[in-house]
């Protein structure tokens, strides 16, 4: 009975003091302002899904994100093409780090070509592409080149200008950059083999380097070479060598004699009617193409200035006996690294057989490493062709298979021939892949074009971007493809010829999504505060971030204050040795540089949100212990404590039932300031990179903008998180100040 009354009275007293406190609190303008701000943030945290049009995982669609320019021009304006254009080639400036797209060549298989020069202007902070009116050219028609109706057009950089060349069935033409013919020759019969080799089609041959084109039919071979020299036509030295077929031709540069190009000719005993011509000259080694049934690989020795006689490494017959199975191989499916064998001795050559098997061949000794079927489970194809890409980085061939209406693309492990991992293939649902996947070394992206659009994957087949091409994309004529993809210092280019005979050129700024300023966008989305680098809506992140901030702030402050209060309570009440130890401990923790030690602890413990809370608590409790202790010590000597002790209360009971409630106001005060500090500390930890990477907090937003280098570019991304942190922290600080005035009456009068 006595107890009940006691409780009732205590409760009433408590409520009375609360009401009193509230009256005083409402008088303080700062306090009310702080409280209102806190309520706003709590509403944001609780009702986040209702306040935001998107979720935090939402990413702006690529339609909004492409901040580059799209340029579409009609290719058939004022021009008569004998047949619609099918091929496209980029011409880039060759100035090292400042490479950019300079011109685009468009051609058909009838010898018509057009060159557009590309220029750039900045309008409204977007780089706009501009194409000049094209220069047109037609070379005499020819047909039946290697059984196809295609005719190749190519160019490469000669010392002084672009040079184009094209073939008909019996002729070879070289044109200068105004399409003026500067050279041509004919073969007596139809050309049935051709190969080109140069160091880098987009770069000028360096002094001493050779570029060559070889054209052959069954009985004669002409090799044309271009050499960077000042002495000749357009800076090129042209030579023609007439050689016997069936010879392995190697070209050596005698660097001391500029005009002298020596040939080593090794007769090879072959059963073939085809000529064998090197497709590549590097510094020291040569790779020979596959002709219809043979492949040769040979190496030079690694002695500069002195290319020695190549050795025949091995050759592979088309009909290969492997474990008594005869395998037939198609010629176009070779995939190998373009680098020298000595650099990548472990890479295999990957071929596809006619019955859809993958063969891996050890490039060093020609042994067959594996034959595996190209299968993707639960997917049956009517017919597929394996296309490989030279895996330069990460040893990655990419294969694609198509039916008449679907395509699948997969990454093949070149050591086993199996499809890499789970889900590392992609099922193209709309349209089908119609040209060879391209691996862009600079950005490690795989670019796939279908008849409807372009897909960009990163190197585990994760879809990065897609672009749809109005009208659909023209099917390419052959291995050259009809997509140009090029990464330059200005941006990333895509160029295609559409089925509507339009040239579609698209440029994205960089390969990542740029942060979008606030506004309305083509997809119909409105981003109130814009987006960040990855396309996340900033307003959504701010609102959802309130949750993590409030949780971290309150939890960290609560743990730190409770710990400090507890230690202060015990130390103040018991006194003596406990007190001395506790105070020394407090001193020690007080004199630690908090941020420094917090970083060290988070590195050891790992960056998770609970570790952050723990670490803030560990380094924060010492601030209040002394004050609590002082308060406890003064309360200890009061009358009510004595009376409690007399009536037999245990120490614990006195501490927690009698003394504690009198300290609670102080505790709440420190809680308030504690939350304010905890929020800023958490933001600091996040900014330095030690926060929880999975949590959405305002500190992480600031970290992202800092580490992705967008500080100077995106003020709509920079300002809101900082303001949010400031206001939330200020809110709790104001509440604390107002509370301070309640507790310390002498502050009020000031």
């Amino acid at each position: 009975m006595v107890k009940k009354r006691g409780w009732n009275e205590q409760r009433k007293a408590f409520i009375r003091s609360l009401k009193n406190g509230w009256k005083i609190y409402t008088k303080s303008k700062i306090g009310m302002a702080g409280l209102i701000m806190i309520i706003i943030f709590v509403i944001m945290a609780v009702f986040a899904p209702f306040l935001t049009p998107y979720t935090p995982e939402f990413k702006a669609p690529s339609v909004d994100v492409i901040r580059g320019d799209i340029y579409i021009t009609n290719l058939t304006n004022n021009v008569v093409w004998d047949k619609p254009p099918v091929g496209i080639i980029p011409y880039t400036s060759s100035q090292g780090a400042n490479q950019y797209l300079k011109a685009v060549l468009v051609y058909n298989d009838q010898g018509n070509a057009a060159v557009f020069n590309v220029s750039y202007t900045y309008i409204n902070n977007i780089l706009k592409i501009n194409l000049s009116s094209p220069t047109y050219y037609s070379i005499p028609k020819g047909t039946n080149y290697m059984g196809q109706t295609a005719m190749y057009f190519k160019y490469f950089s000669a010392p002084k200008s672009i040079v184009y060349y094209g073939f008909t069935n019996t002729s070879f033409y070289i044109l200068d950059n105004n399409f003026k013919q500067i050279y041509n020759f004919n073969l007596n019969k139809n050309i049935d083999f051709r190969s080109e080799f140069y160091n880098n089609p987009y770069q000028l041959p360096q002094a001493g380097q050779l570029s060559a084109i070889a054209i052959a039919n069954g009985t004669e071979v002409k090799v044309l070479f271009f050499y960077n020299s000042q002495l000749s036509l357009n800076g090129m030295l042209l030579g023609v060598v007439h050689i016997n077929p069936l010879s392995i031709v190697t070209l050596k540069l005698n660097s001391s004699i500029i005009n002298n190009i020596l040939l080593y000719i090794n007769p090879l005993d072959l059963n073939s009617t085809m000529a064998i011509i090197p497709t590549k000259i590097g510094l020291y080694s040569y790779v020979f193409p596959m002709e219809l049934n043979k492949t040769y690989l040979s190496y030079g020795l690694n002695i500069p200035q002195n290319v020695s006689k190549p050795q025949l490494a091995w050759y592979l017959n088309y009909s290969v006996n492997y474990n008594n199975t005869v395998i037939n191989i198609y010629p176009q499916s070779i995939s190998y690294s373009n680098n020298f064998p000595s650099e990548y001795p472990n890479q295999n050559i990957i071929l596809m057989t006619s019955n859809n098997n993958i063969i891996g061949i050890n490039r060093l000794n020609g042994s067959v490493m594996y034959i595996t079927p190209f299968l993707i489970s639960n997917y049956s194809v009517q017919k597929y062709t394996l296309q490989g890409i030279a895996g330069n980085m990460g040893n990655m061939p990419v294969a694609w298979a198509y039916t008449s209406s679907k395509s699948i693309v997969a990454i093949i492990d070149q050591y086993t021939g199996k499809i890499l991992g789970k889900g590392q293939f992609y099922n193209i649902i709309d349209g089908y892949v119609n040209s060879k996947p391209i691996y862009d070394i600079g950005s490690s992206m795989i670019i796939l074009s279908t008849n409807l659009g372009v897909y960009v994957f990163n190197n585990n087949m994760h879809l990065n971007q897609t672009f749809s091409i109005p009208g659909g994309m023209r099917t390419p004529i052959s291995g050259l493809g009809n997509v140009i993809t090029y990464q330059s210092s200005l941006g990333y280019f895509y160029g295609v010829i559409t089925n509507n005979n339009k040239l579609y050129l698209q440029m994205t700024l960089g390969t990542d999504i740029a942060p979008l300023p606030p506004g309305k966008y083509p997809s119909g989305n409105v981003y109130i505060l814009g987006t960040d680098l990855y396309g996340h809506d900033i307003w959504t992140w701010i609102v959802y971030g309130a949750r993590a901030e409030l949780i971290v702030g309150l939890a960290a402050a609560a743990s730190s204050v409770l710990l400090g209060t507890f230690i202060g309570l015990i130390s103040g009440y018991y006194g003596g040795l406990v007190d001395i130890i506790a105070m020394r401990l407090t001193d020690i923790f007080l004199s630690l540089p908090s941020l420094v030690i917090m970083l060290l602890l988070v590195t050891i413990l790992g960056p998770s949100i609970w570790n952050v809370i723990l670490v803030i608590a560990i380094l924060g409790w010492s601030g209040i212990t002394r004050i609590i202790r002082a308060q406890v010590m003064s309360l200890k000597s009061r009358a009510f404590v004595d009376s409690a002790r007399i009536s037999g209360a245990s120490n614990l009971r006195i501490m927690f039932v009698h003394i504690m409630p009198n300290i609670l106001p102080l505790t709440f005060l420190f809680m308030s300031f504690g939350v304010s500090g905890a929020i800023i500390t958490e933001a600091s930890l996040a900014f330095l990179g030690f926060g929880d990477p999975h949590a959405i907090t305002w500190g992480m937003m600031l970290q992202y903008i800092w580490t992705t280098g967008n500080v100077l570019r995106a003020p709509w991304w920079l300002i809101p998180p900082g303001l949010a942190i400031t206001f939330l922290s200020m809110a709790f600080y104001f509440v604390g100040r107002a509370f301070d005035e309640i507790i310390n009456p002498r502050l009020r009068r000031r």
């Binding site: 700062i30 020394r584 001193d587 020690i588 004199s591 630690l592 540089p593 908090s594 941020l595 420094v596 030690i597 970083l599 060290l600 602890l601 590195t603 050891i604 304010s676 800023i680 933001a683 600091s684 900014f687 330095l688 990179g689 500190g699 600031l702 903008i705 800092w706 500080v711 100077l712 003020p715 920079l718 300002i719 998180p721 900082g722 942190i725 400031t726 922290s729 200020m730 600080y733 104001f734 000031r750």
Partner: protein, 331 residues
Amino acid sequence: MAGLLKYWVMRSIQSFITFIIIVISLFFLLHAFHQNFITLLSLNPQLTPSQKEFVAKLYGLNQPLWVQFENYIMQVFTFNYGYSFVYDVPVSSLLAQTVPRTLFLFGLATIISYIIGYFVGAIIAWRRGGILDASNVVIGLFFYNMPTYWVGMIFIFIFSFELKLFPLGGFFDATDKIFGWNAPNNIFWVALDYLWHAALPLIVLVLIFFAGNVLLMRTSMLDVIGENYIDVAIAKGLTEKEVLFKHAARNALLPLVTSFIISMAFAIGGGVLTETVFSYFGVGLLYIKAIDSLDYPVIEATVIIISLLVIIFNWIADIIYGYLDPRVRVE
């Protein structure tokens, strides 16, 4: 006087003990750090066992704990922290370069913000109430609650990038142009260059901390103003300015002084953020880079040095406070 001496001795002993305890606890912390590192290393399949052994030997982790502890104590007291992994120079030389820069920046920032606090706080307290008072509170608190690095980023954006008044970062660049002039290579211009680079971080730091100082000075002034001798001074007929600055403010200086010294201590530790944003290569940035690249000798050294500096400054603050305020001496 005996009370003062006793106080000093007690405080010195306390500081020393604190230091020892911190050094010992840091040993265990860093030991855990090293063990973490070794565990991480052993997960890397490309490392041969002999390489892992080499690293273990490098840290002396294959020696008994007591021996490691001895080595550690030796290191701490002789300031020999070995060689940095990343920079390949002795750590002490790195510290010798970076510590002065940090001290320069934060010392200057603290001094300036305290000077501002002194004058503004005194004036505000003298003219009680009024718009200056209230606005100071709000504006000051607004800046105090801002994340320092965010303010830094905004300042860089506005003043370095848009207006091009200040450099984008760093602490010194012989090739930089100060306001467009090419600095000739003499000491005056070099000093000016240092100042120019330090200007933005200074402004940011002062902006954030001045409010607290103003408030501190204000509180202390209000205490002093209520004292008798102020009334006597006014009655004597001294001008308002004289009373304010010669009598009242000087007496209110005491808490400010001790707070100043302690601020110095913590500014060094917390300077990590400012230095990161401005790429100002002081101790803080050195520490961050060391943690990011797991450069253990540097991490050890910076943590110990910063803790040492904090303890020393606290000790100095205690000594000065004991001298200035007689009330503390009776312990």
